[in-house]
């Protein structure tokens, strides 16, 4: 019986790091190379590795499923709160000053059910597996002011394109460390007319962060963009310093 965990952690289908798109891939560690050799020679190991990657996808989808029962029983605010707590994120309700978060073991109290008429004002989903489908639970939170998505591995351009549902309320957005975000998704942020603070530090897939900052400031004049300097992404060739624009973006 082959240990499934080994396959899952070493080699997952199409999950190589996004930042190494342009640089040549570094050689895999010995365990991964062995596993790759076995996968290429044995049907059953190939099947096990693909099952383990399917299992990973399935658990991620389960975390982001639509909480229809909570919605029906307690209303959309409680369902949204329950969803965020299950993801191990935190939130703050409108009118209250303290944050509701699960403890280190992931347990949380169900007191928020008593506040079913208060909508959520700030959400801290850093490091969680929130994704596009999970936003189905948050569509109803039309008073959402701050959203922190620091280091979320599943936040990609499609997620950003769906953030227009908060176009009348979102004021702060933190996207630092989201390895899947690229310029294609950032160009959808112009819907967020009320945005005042945007954090774009360490986005590995954005090739010209300085230029993107300038273009976004043109489109969102009242927004302050943090984490990026204007000269980041500039390439100096000898005496000239030209901004190299990438095509195909």
């Amino acid at each position: 019986m082959w240990p499934v965990g080994l396959g899952w952690t070493c080699l997952s289908i199409a999950r190589r790091s996004w930042s190494s798109v342009s640089s040549p891939p570094s050689p895999l560690p010995l365990r991964s190379r062995m596993l790759l050799f076995l996968v290429q020679h044995f049907h059953d190991i190939e099947a096990i590795v693909s099952w383990s990657s399917w299992l990973g996808n399935w658990t991620r989808q389960r975390k982001n499923v639509y909480y229809s029962y909570a919605q029906k029983q307690f209303g959309s605010n409680v369902a949204a709160a329950f969803y965020i707590l299950n993801l191990k994120g935190g939130f703050r309700l409108a009118g209250q000053s303290d944050w509701v978060r699960p403890n280190a073991k992931g347990k949380f109290s169900l007191d928020f059910i008593n506040f079913s008429d208060l909508s959520i004002e700030e959400v801290d989903a850093s490091g969680t597996v929130i994704n596009y489908m999970g936003l189905n639970n948050l569509v109803s939170q039309q008073k959402l002011r701050c959203l922190s998505l620091r280091g979320c591995p599943e936040v990609d351009d499609w997620f950003l394109s769906r953030l227009h549902i908060f176009k009348d309320s979102l004021e702060e957005l933190d996207l630092s460390g989201c390895s899947r975000v690229s310029v294609g998704g950032l160009s959808a942020l112009h819907h967020l007319r009320k945005l005042r603070k945007l954090d774009l530090s360490s986005l590995p897939r954005v090739q010209n962060p300085g230029l993107v900052r300038i273009l976004l400031e043109e489109v969102l004049p009242h927004c302050h963009i943090m984490g990026v300097e204007y000269q980041e992404g500039l390439q100096s060739s000898g005496a000239e310093t030209d901004i190299k624009a990438t095509s195909g973006l």
Partner: protein
């Protein structure tokens, strides 16, 4: 358990090691002995030559032994390289994005490993004239026909999860470079009512579209000249543009990894059997069944007949010609057999403009009511623009040469009127591509041909084939393997409407 014979490569390595040249000094002392009379004084030079000759001969022997081992591609029969297999279950004519999408979905839906043998035949591996790679790459849900909206929505869904669908183990993840910018359609007085009706259809089908009045439009996009605009419709989600070459290669890579056969060659004919039956009026109708597909090798006269059960015509702009090879369209007048597949290539120009003061990151894919379209390309002030010519001014589709005069006279005045910043723009480059234009009603034709019992048609998309290709592939795979549509009901796009002369018109063709 052993998947390939390359396991024996280990054995070959051991054989190789044993055939490794024995150390030079040892050999010389060992083999020099018989030539005792001459060896000792001038012996060194002669010994060296002998040893080198021996080594060369041993090398040749090793090489021959390696080719004889299983795993090398030497065979005693001198066959042409790259011939297609003699027998295949499904032959897909055309290796564009629609063809490879169908191949992928067929392999994905087969219930048994190697349940169907699929062969994709493409005549030009460089894709120099293929509509897929010359396309502008947009995807939208703003159509008037619900089937088109559902196809685009399903395709956007597919592209959102593209790595789950088309990810290959230990290969780079698929990157479509999707820009989420939305389409912006502008309507004049005449078209406003139609646009409102379309908006309702789109909303009902699940597309996220917003209607804007001229004031709202001016507020959102101040660089547009709203003169003459009565209503605008803006897509909020699942619309934008992407890289068609990445999508094509993703489909191809995944399909090849699942065992689809690929052949470079041109389909020059079909061998079919036909049997006639008479209708109640006494007319004879001939039903054909394709038995062999004749594939001609590139730069050669050699033709390989591929025995097949099903043929899929996904040849894009050349689908009309491929259908003619099966005898579709050549029949007695006023009969069903005389109706050809109404797809022909239509040339469309695409111009790349550079406008330093042009609109910024929020530029949507703008489509004016005069037909001119424009979108942003990259971050350096480059834009892509084009215009569909009038019916009577269609350019000659013999080659793909660009007519820059078309830009000067037809496109630029309209563009500069709508976007004043483009009054001082420069054309940096241009290209031309073919639409697989459906002359009947500009919508795709999907389904079995009624008279040729085993030819499926998936063509005629008239400019929106790329954006619908994932969903079209799934629909056709369902037709072939499940016998009918399962997820989306696309029977309105079947070939029957062409027989009955009932066009299913799409009002939003760009």
């Amino acid at each position: 358990m052993w998947k390939t014979w390359t396991g024996l490569a280990g054995a070959v390595q051991r054989v190789r090691a044993s055939l490794h040249p024995i150390p030079y000094r040892l050999a010389s002392t060992f083999l020099c002995a018989p030539h005792s009379a001459r060896c000792f004084s001038t012996g060194r030079a002669a010994c060296k030559d002998f040893i080198q000759e021996l080594e060369q001969q041993l090398k040749a022997f090793r090489h021959k032994a390696l080719t004889a081992m299983p795993g090398s591609d030497w065979s005693p029969q001198n066959t042409t390289a790259g011939l297609p297999p003699e027998r295949a279950d499904i032959v897909i004519v055309g290796g564009g994005v629609v063809g490879w999408s169908i191949a992928y979905w067929l392999k994905r839906k087969e219930r048994v490993r190697d349940g169907v043998r699929v062969l994709v035949v493409e005549k030009d591996p460089t894709y120099s004239q293929a509509s897929t790679v010359l396309s502008v790459g947009g995807i939208r849900q703003q159509f008037s026909l619900p089937e088109n909206i559902h196809l685009s929505l399903a395709s956007a869904d597919f592209m959102r999860n593209i790595n789950e669908h088309l990810g290959v183990l230990n290969e780079d993840p698929v990157d479509l470079q999707f820009t989420h910018s939305g389409y912006l359609f502008l309507a004049s007085e005449k078209g406003a009512a139609v646009m409102e009706e379309n908006y309702r259809t789109q909303r009902d089908a699940g597309a996220k579209v917003l209607l804007l009045s001229p004031t709202q439009l001016k507020e959102k996009f101040p660089w547009i000249n709203t003169e003459g605009v009565k209503l605008a419709s803006y897509g909020l989600e699942n619309e934008g543009w992407f890289d068609p070459w990445s999508l094509l290669n993703a489909f191809r890579r995944k399909a090849l990894s699942m065992g689809v056969y690929q052949c470079v060659g041109e389909v020059t004919g079909f061998r079919y059997s036909s049997h006639s039956m008479s209708t109640t009026d006494g007319d004879m109708v001939a039903f054909k069944r394709i038995k062999y597909v004749n594939v001609r090798m590139p730069n050669s006269l050699e033709v390989q007949p591929v025995e097949c059960a099903i043929v899929v015509n996904a040849a894009g702009a050349q689908s009309g010609k491929v259908a003619q090879l099966a005898g579709i369209g050549s029949g007695p007048e006023d009969s069903l057999a005389s109706v050809p597949v109404p797809v022909e290539p239509r040339k469309r120009y695409v111009y790349v403009l550079n406008c330093p003061d042009g609109p910024g990151l929020d530029t949507p894919f703008l489509i004016d009511y005069s037909g001119v379209y424009c979108r942003r390309e990259g971050l350096g002030g480059n834009y892509i623009a084009g215009l569909s010519p009038e019916e009577n001014e269609e350019p000659d589709s013999g080659d793909l040469e660009v007519n820059y005069g078309f830009f000067q006279e037809n496109l630029w005045p309209l563009l500069a009127r709508r976007l004043p910043a483009f009054e001082c723009c420069k054309v940096t480059s241009a290209w031309a591509g073919y639409y697989d234009y459906n002359t009947f009603d500009q919508n795709g034709i999907l389904g079995l041909h009624p008279l040729v019992n085993n030819m499926y048609i998936a063509t005629g998309f008239s400019g929106h084939g790329l954006q619908q290709s994932p969903a079209v592939g799934r629909a056709l795979a369902e037709l072939i393997l499940d016998g009918g549509f399962r997820t989306l009901d696309l029977s309105a796009l079947g070939f029957e409407r062409i027989f009955y002369k009932e066009p299913v018109l799409e009002r939003n063709i760009v």
